[in-house]
Each structure stands twice: as structure tokens, then as C-alpha cells.
Amino acid sequence: MDTAFLIESAIKVHIVLGFVLLVVPYIVWMERKVLGHMQDRIGPERVGPFGLLQTIADGIKLFMKEDLVPAQADKVVFIIAPGITVVTALIAATVIPWGDTVELFGRTVALHVADVNVALLFVLATTSMGVYGIVLGGWASNSKYSLLGGLRSSAQMISYELAQGISLVSVVLLAGTLSLAEIGRQQAHLWYVVPQFFGFLIYVISGVAETNRAPFDLPEAETELVAGFHTEYSSMKWAFYFLGEYANMMVVAGVAITVFLGGWQGPVLPPVVWFLVKLTAFLFFFIWLRATFPRLRYDQLMAFGWKVLLPAAILNLVVTAVVVALW
């Protein structure tokens, strides 16, 4: 471990984490604007040009809010839980490649923080830890609604994780590697979404469920659970859950882009720009889903996950395996 490597890694860590944290307010702004226009409203427009500073103002407001901890809450777990959600999402973001290696100052620099040879498993492992943030938050609040929200999320995330993992395995069979950078590199001529269209569909559906977003936002379901797992949270602890959700969206989108949509590859524009364009398009798609679909009922959600999505993912895997073996 030479000093140059340490310095390079430190710089990359700061860039990636800074990017994820700084860009979240603008994703929230985009969500509110897009939702507004889809519902025939204008959305935020008062603070700054086009309302661009609205979420910054909201953030400052959240900093100033009183920080409440319920009297009967499990204090340590209550305080740790929102942190788990954010930290796991940020760790997962470190292995997503933004581009191929580039030459900078006479060094070959890979455009992702950590070069892990099992990067795909690494992402799945860290995001599977993210469920603890929600479950523990729900339990530690010592409130019925929060507990129900937390339990729902643990059942939901474990169920959909299976389909998600299996849909990614189908691509791994084609690519022959678990390294995200290598999978991205292989898609110069053909994106994996073409041979693995069903895998892509399954991944996106379970990805939406993993991030607890509409139409799968049952852990919070404000109409029945009063915001579910984060009912008792206020101030920056609540903001951390919010931050974690958006960081998780970026991770799910980043993996989908790298594995199915050609990663950083594309004509004319430089690689990092292509990655950001695809990321924005994918986040727009997430918001579009939220504006379009009503929330599922809980039994529908579980039945869909276990009886439709998982068998479909396994079938897709078997067919892919047979095709790869015969070819």
C-alpha cells in the first residue's frame, strides 16, 4: 500500500460521497417538480430560480427543528438506526464505476473508489444490511405503527432481494465475472438489457421494492401506518432516512445502468457524462412510477414477490444457463 494509492483513494472517496450527498437535494427538487407537472401543478417555484433552492431551505429548516426521542424508546438503537440506512447506501456507492480507467498525472486511475473483484455481491451484501436501519428504527420507536412498518419492510426487502439477486446472476452467467467494472466494459457493442430483457424488468421491479418507493412504499404507507417506521423521527434523524432512501435509489440505478444499460459507454459524449445522463433518466423513471401507480395492498405485495417475481427470475436464470451451456 503506497502513499500515492492512499491519497488517490482518499480523493475518490471524497468525490463520490460528496457527489451523492450534494446531489440528493436536487433529486428531491426534481421529484417535486416532475410530480407537480405530472399532476398538473407547478411544484416548488418560490425559493430561488425555478425553486432550485427550495430543498436547501428545507434542509436548513430540518437542522433547526427540535430533536425528539420518545420517552419509552430504546435510545441507543433509536439514534443509530437512521445512520445505518445512510452508511450502507454510501458504502454500496463506492464500487459503482463511473467510467473506464483514465490516465491522470501519469497514473492509471479507475473511476470507482474500491476495486472489489466481487463488486456485485458487495453491493447486494451492503444493501441487504440497509434493512436494519428501517427495522431497528421501527422497533426502537416503541410505537405500534412504527413496529408494523419495520416488520413490513423486513419481510418485503428479504422477499424482493431474492428475485433481485437471481436476476443479476443471469447477467453474471453471460459476463463470466462479478466485477462491475468488467461487466460495464463488456457492453461496448451490446447492452445486456437486450439478451436479458426479462432480467432487467425483474431487477427494476425488485429494485423499486428494495428502496421502499411507491408503488411498494408499504413500510411507510401514510394512509394506514402514519408514515410507518419513521413516525417518531424528527429533525435530522428523519432527514437521514430521507437521505438514505435517495442514496439507495442512486445505488439501485447505478447498478442497473452498469449491469444492464451499458454502464458509462455511449457515443460522442465522455464516459462520466454518459453515466450521469443515464442516472438522471433512471431517477426520472423512478419518479414517473410513483406518479403513475397506486400503492399495492400488503398481501398483494408478498404474493407478487413470491409467486410471480421469484419464479420468473428462476425461470429466466434456468433458460439463460441452458442457452449459455449450449452455445
Partner: protein
């Protein structure tokens, strides 16, 4: 050389501390969380041993799925500072006996001559060691029968769980 030694000390220390916490904590949910801490630090040790695939699986399967289900049940029962279940003489005696057997077994392994040789000369890691391909090859050739027997055991467990869940009580 210094950084791996430091990391080893850190992960090993956290693992031991969390394990003690699992035993001595009164609140079952806290115990489960400390067990997650043990699993995570052990996966850190796996990474130091060049077994990143195993480390990822450890987090994904044990910490990320099995322990979440443990927590799920503990939260539904909402046990808080319950009295320990096994305090009677026979159970305690069995526990102590089991602990002694495991301790002797570990001591025997550590003190065996094979182990001493391994520690004296730090072995070189063969290329591809611990990679998914290498593990898969060994699993499906050398250890094929144990592997298949385990999968049949798991299948039996799944069927048993379904039968129990479907049974109508009363």
C-alpha cells in the same frame, strides 16, 4: 505489514467484544444486534485472508437475511429483559460440557504440528484463491457429496416449515 496486523486486531477485538455482549446482554434484540456485529467483523477477517467471496456471502446470507428473520421474530414477541430460559441444572451442565468439548477441540487443532508449520512460514497465496470460480470448482468436484446432502437437508427443512405453517390448529 502494519496495516493488516492493525486490521486483524481491530476485527478480532470487535468480534470478541460483541460475542461477550451476545452472552451477557439482557435484551434479546440487543443480543441479536451484537451477533450481527460478530458476523460482520468475522467477514472482515475473511477479507484479510483473501476470501472476499466468502466475506460477501457471510454478510449477504447470515447478517443480511438470517439475522433479519431472527430480529423479525424477536420483535413480534417483544421480549424485554426476559429471564434466561435454560437455568436448570441439567441444561447448565450440558452447556458447560459442550463448551469444554469445543475448547479442547480448538486447542487440539491449534497445537497440532501441521498448524505450527503453517504459522512459521507464512504461506504464499495461490492465484485465484478464494475467487468464486475456485470455490465453485472445489465445491462441485471434491466436496460434491457433502454439498448435495446439505442441499437435501435444506429441502427437508423447507418442506417441514411449509407443513408446520399450513397445519390447522384446534
Amino acid at each position: 505489514m502494519l496495516i493488516p496486523a492493525f486490521l486483524f486486531a481491530m476485527f478480532a477485538g470487535i468480534a470478541i467484544g460483541c460475542s461477550l455482549g451476545v452472552i451477557f446482554h439482557r435484551n434479546p434484540v440487543h443480543c441479536a444486534l451484537l451477533l450481527v456485529g460478530v458476523l460482520l467483523s468475522v467477514s472482515g477477517l475473511f477479507i484479510l485472508l483473501n476470501a472476499s467471496f466468502l466475506a460477501a456471502l457471510q454478510v449477504l446470507v447470515y447478517a443480511g437475511a438470517i439475522m433479519v428473520l431472527f430480529l423479525f421474530v424477536l420483535m413480534l414477541l417483544n421480549l424485554k429483559g426476559e429471564n434466561p430460559l435454560l437455568t436448570r441444572g441439567a441444561a447448565k451442565g450440558f452447556g458447560i460440557l459442550f463448551a469444554i468439548v469445543v475448547f479442547v477441540e480448538l486447542l487440539w487443532t491449534v497445537l497440532s504440528p501441521q498448524m505450527e508449520g503453517g504459522m512459521a512460514a507464512s504461506p504464499t497465496v495461490p492465484t485465484g484463491f478464494g475467487s468464486p470460480a475456485a470455490i465453485g470448482r472445489v465445491l462441485y468436484t471434491v466436496w460434491l457429496y457433502p454439498f448435495e446432502i446439505t442441499s437435501i437437508l435444506l429441502l427437508i427443512a423447507v418442506i417441514g416449515a411449509v407443513v408446520l405453517a399450513k397445519r390447522k390448529f384446534g
